[in-house]
Chain length 153, copies 2
């Protein structure tokens, strides 16, 4: 099955111009052209774009993904380099997920806080609650918010 840039863009949920930009930046060296110069995306290209999407979500820049593309073009010489890259991205995304989960906890607390405040028509009451008066599920994050702790970065 073959797709034009507009078709694959729709499937991926990104714009065609973004795909052309990726191509220009060297992220799509495998995409072939039809007789009249039109990009034809294959299922293999879809897979490749899924990997790009994944690397981007892990925090890699276009430049970094270009570097990965170059590794793939080097063939078997770069296998261990590629392994190291994916291991590093795995570590990075695990870290990101943990940070997101902490952010979620804070958002859950804020949702509770404001649902109380809306009930009371003021947030004075809920704000005045001491740590052991709030539901225990929120105590942890509430304390993290209140007590200054330097980032170990």
């Amino acid at each position: 099955m073959l797709y034009t840039v507009g078709e694959i863009a729709k499937i991926l949920g990104i714009s065609a111009s973004t795909l052309r930009y990726y191509d220009k930046e060297g992220l799509l060296p495998f995409v072939e052209r039809s007789n009249n110069g039109i990009r034809m995306f294959t299922d293999k290209d879809y897979e490749w774009l899924k990997v790009i999407e994944c690397l981007k979500k892990s925090g890699l820049s276009i430049k970094d993904i270009k570097a990965y593309t170059n590794m793939v073009n080097q063939g078997n010489n770069s296998l261990s380099e590629r392994l190291e890259l994916f291991q590093a991205r795995r570590t990075a995304i695990k870290q990101q997920i943990m940070e997101m989960q902490e952010a979620l906890e804070l958002l859950e607390f804020k949702c509770w806080y404001y649902s109380q405040a809306v009930k009371d028509h003021t947030d004075e009451k809920v704000q005045a609650l001491s740590i052991d008066e709030i539901p225990e599920q929120y105590r942890n994050i509430k304390q993290k918010m209140n007590n200054i702790h330097a980032k170990p970065e």
Copy 2:
């Protein structure tokens, strides 16, 4: 306890210029100044900055956070608006976490793939494996990668 911009920046793991930029953009309306015009951050300001950090992680722009700041400045009128905001951010971050977890699955697969390839000194063998020859924990993500499915966005 009071902190200068440099001190609180160090604690938060961001730069002092970023904090001054946030102030200029109206994100820090509560930060007071000393006699000679120096910003003095309190524990309350630390808490506020933690919320900003959290909203940013949830995908909000500086402009959006400025809008939230305005809501807080409006007092009790905006309580339900603030509740809705936090509920929306909670939904958004849950979605992001799910996407990250799918990205992690793909990275795990790639780590396995390349650890095999490094062993073999080529990825031809591991690439040639059919779906039921790869460890079952990776089959799901491998199929998602291979089979085109349009995003329902």
